[in-house]
């Protein structure tokens, strides 16, 4: 494999603006994610960790304008029903885990992927799969007569193919963030085919997250994706509908790396320990992901109150029991109060235990904490 080195990045001064906009680089003091932000967002909290603040700093990045972007199709003000649905089902919530707070904390962010173009020259081999149909029989015997029913079944015939390729692959999507996989899980799928040419005017006030994997480091990640694109091209050339066991020996030259920015919203609420819990909304589809934590502290507090009520009921039951010596019918009331006290104490236990059990089930993807 021969690879021509992709264009190197430049260091952008902290006061330098790009692409005829007022955007300047800023980094999070806590998680060290780097953004291009409008000046008014310098000093704001980091939209992805909500712990640190964004401080002016130089950035190591490509200065050429990005190639493509997807725009926000979901408006910020329309997120309230999404948040309500997201919260529903969580019984004992932290204080600020409510739709209004989530909406108030919502920030628009564009996150990057690389688009790789490259000339490819080499040779390949694969198993090409060709669709074909076979006829199968179903025979039915009824009323002394046979009836034949033909059934058509689709199958794939695998045949070896080899070949030479001399082409250019374009816009192969490649991770630009170390947390790419996790970010994809959080935002779920985008309709990448709806991508439009990058236009700074469409960024609005959104944070523009910068790649943290430079092209030279991203090539090993790009290679399997480029291979897959080449496999599809080779398969199409062979007239096949499927492929497997594709391998290629090739040289890659004349590479071009550009960014593709994808829209998302981030918001947060604070948990029992005062830690921000980040919730992410896909800016195109509205898919929402993030931890839905219950408050164990509130649970324990409520449980104590309920337990006190249960204790009072038990006391009353005991008192009634003593009074039965004087007024025998009170025995019935004593029994009922005892049962009620037992039920209320069970409820107290459930209230204390439930938040912990619920939180243990919250194992979905989360925005990665970074140092």
């Amino acid at each position: 494999m021969m690879v021509e080195h992709p264009p190197t990045e430049e260091i952008i001064d902290e006061n330098q603006t790009l692409w005829h906009t007022d955007r300047q680089p800023a980094g999070c003091s806590q998680c060290h994610r780097v953004y291009l932000v409008t000046p008014d967002y310098r000093g704001a909290s980091c939209p992805l960790c909500r712990k640190g603040v964004l401080e002016a700093q130089p950035a190591h990045m490509r200065t050429a304008q990005p190639e493509q972007m997807l725009t926000f199709r979901v408006k910020r003000n329309d997120l309230l029903p999404t948040y309500k649905k997201f919260i529903s089902g969580v019984w004992i919530k932290p204080e600020d885990f409510n739709p209004e707070t989530l909406l108030r904390n919502t920030r628009p962010v564009f996150w990057p992927e690389w688009l790789v173009d490259s000339d490819v020259s080499g040779h390949w081999e694969m198993e090409a799969g060709f669709d074909y149909q076979v006829e199968s029989a179903k025979e039915v015997y009824n009323n002394g007569r046979w009836e034949s029913r033909k059934q058509i079944e689709n199958r794939v015939r695998w045949e070896p193919r080899v070949g030479m390729i001399n082409t250019r692959v374009e816009n192969v999507i490649t991770p630009a963030l170390e947390e790419h996989e996790n970010r994809q899980k959080m935002t779920e799928k985008y309709h990448l085919e709806r991508g439009i040419g990058f236009d700074p005017a469409l960024l609005g006030g959104a944070f523009l997250e910068l790649p943290d994997i430079p092209p030279e480091d991203a090539w090993p990640l790009a290679r399997p994706r480029v291979d897959k694109a080449l496999a599809k091209t080779s398969s199409k050339a062979a007239g096949a509908q499927h492929f497997r066991n594709f391998s290629i020996s090739a040289s890659f030259s004349n590479q071009n790396w550009t960014e593709f920015f994808l829209p998302m919203y981030t918001t947060y609420y604070t948990d029992d320990d005062g830690q921000p819990q980040i919730v992410v909304v896909n800016g195109e589809t509205g898919a929402i992901r993030g931890p839905r934590l219950a408050s164990q502290k509130r649970g324990a507090r409520i449980a104590k109150i309920i337990a006190a009520v249960a204790g009072g009921l038990f006391l009353l039951a005991l008192l009634s029991l003593l009074l039965t010596m004087v007024i025998p019918p009170l025995g019935l009331i004593a029994g009922l109060l005892g049962l009620l006290g037992f039920g209320v104490s069970l409820f107290a236990i459930i209230t204390a235990v439930w938040p912990g059990q619920w939180n243990r089930k919250q194992t979905g993807p989360r925005i990665a904490a970074k140092d």
Binding site: G122, H123, S136, S148, M164
Partner: protein, 435 residues
């Protein structure tokens, strides 16, 4: 996806690959060369030593020259039951429905340069100008519709007459000394076309099954215990799985070869299947199929349906069945087109022609034989006589008393048994004469 290193040496496709059409500019595609059979060209069989005609010799197991003793063994892969089979693809079925067409194949004789034409359906011929043996396969657009496998002749031609004579001598209802009186002409060794079918069948059945139930009750009116038998009907269902392996269906038209006699030559041992080599056909006759794949498959399906129905009935614990329904789901259906060795001949007896065939692999003989009908009528009379006589004796005994009735009854029973045996004998004799 591998990450191979690009070699400096110029790349070339592996041996046996050929360039095929690419649907994307900038991409060159190579595919394995089609597995063409050695059948496109007619093959002439002349002795490399003396130039005489050579043919496949069963004893030698190869091509040999009867004049100078030259012999060359035929090397062919013995594939047996693992011979490659083919699916019922829509493409093949469409081609199969179209058949061979009526195009006649023109051959150029390499020995003498003469042009000769093959009769329709023939795979081999001899050049009329130089008597050179020629083997060819009729051109088919579909590669798979050519014979790929065959079972070579194992029975030597010189043994066929003695086999036939032995077979003619069997059976009591044929003319006396048939084997001695009949002149059996030389047998003609022919490779006949057959289709073989494999399939897995899942059959489900449902039926009302009748069971005999006996009740014993006391009848107050007659003051006696009575036994009553009645049939109780129950709905039952079940499943049966059948694996059909190498079901043989002849590819010859019934007006050319008697299917009735051909079926009596079964079974052929498919373990002896070898990959097709024209050498096996040198000096022998061979026929291409006349019954198309689709027609043969319909015949095969009818046989398989019958087997599936029989298997379902075998699962039913009673003989009384009504409202029987079933379905048979076929899967993994596949087929082969093969050639099987058969010797054919005919003999004359009292101006009638009788066909005889010998299984060229196993030596089983089948055919039609004349019937000495006087023997049959005599045998039938012998079958009917005891019953008739006993009934006749019973008539005067009626005057004596009850014993006469017993004799008549026994006579009638014996007579009926005699009719059944006689009818069976008649049928057997009639079939023996049929070709």
């Amino acid at each position: 996806m591998s990450d191979n290193t690009l070699q400096d040496t110029p790349w070339s496709p592996p041996q046996g690959y050929t360039q095929v059409e690419s649907q994307v500019p900038g991409v060159v595609v190579f595919a394995p060369q089609p597995d063409r059979l050695e059948q496109d060209q007619a093959v002439s069989y002349d002795c490399p030593n003396c130039g005489a005609n050579v043919a496949y010799d069963v004893s030698a197991g190869g091509v040999s020259c009867e004049y100078c003793g030259y012999a060359a063994p035929v090397t062919a892969d013995r594939v047996g039951r693992n011979a490659e089979d083919f699916e019922f693809t829509l493409e093949t079925l469409t081609q199969a429905r179209q058949g061979w067409g009526t195009e006649r194949q023109l051959l150029h004789c390499d020995s003498c340069g003469g042009e000769l034409s093959l009769s329709e359906g023939a795979l081999t011929t001899s050049c009329p100008f130089c008597a050179s043996n020629q083997v060819n396969v009729i051109t088919s657009q579909e590669e798979t519709l050519r014979p790929r496998f065959l079972v070579p002749f194992k029975v030597k031609p010189e043994d066929t007459i003695s086999l036939a004579k032995k077979w003619l001598g069997k059976g009591w209802f044929h003319p006396n000394e048939l084997a001695e009186n009949v002149v059996v002409q030389r047998f003609l060794g022919v490779y006949l076309p057959f289709w073989t079918f494999n399939a897995a069948v899942d059959a489900r059945w449902r039926a009302e099954v009748g069971y005999q139930k006996t009740d014993r009750r006391y009848n107050a009116r007659t003051k006696r215990w009575e036994t009553r038998t009645r049939t109780v009907w129950k709905w039952e269902n079940g499943r049966v799985h059948l694996d059909i392996d190498n079901l043989l269906v002849t590819g010859s038209a019934p007006n050319h070869i008697s299917h009735h006699i051909l079926h009596q030559l079964y079974p052929f041992n498919m373990d002896d299947l070898v990959a097709y080599r024209p050498d096996f056909l040198a000096g022998w006759n061979a026929q291409a199929f006349e019954t198309t794949l689709t027609e043969a498959w319909e015949t095969g399906k009818t046989t398989i349906r019958g087997k599936a129905k029989k298997a379902c009935y075998q699962r039913i614990a009673s003989n009384q069945v009504r409202n029987f329904t079933m379905s048979a789901d076929f899967s993994d259906e596949s087929w082969r087109y093969i050639l099987l060795p058969v010797y054919l001949t005919a003999y004359r007896y009292e101006d009638k022609v009788f066909q005889v065939m010998v299984n060229g692999q196993t030596g089983i003989v089948a055919g039609s034989k004349p019937v000495a009908w006087w023997k049959i009528w005599l045998a039938i009379a012998a079958c009917l006589a005891p019953g008739a006589l006993l009934a006749l004796i019973g008539l005067p005994l009626l005057l004596v008393g009850g014993i006469g009735i017993i004799a008549i009854a026994l006579g009638i029973i014996l007579f009926v048994i005699g009719v059944i045996i006689g009818f069976s004998l008649y049928n057997k004799a009639r079939k023996s004469e049929e070709s």
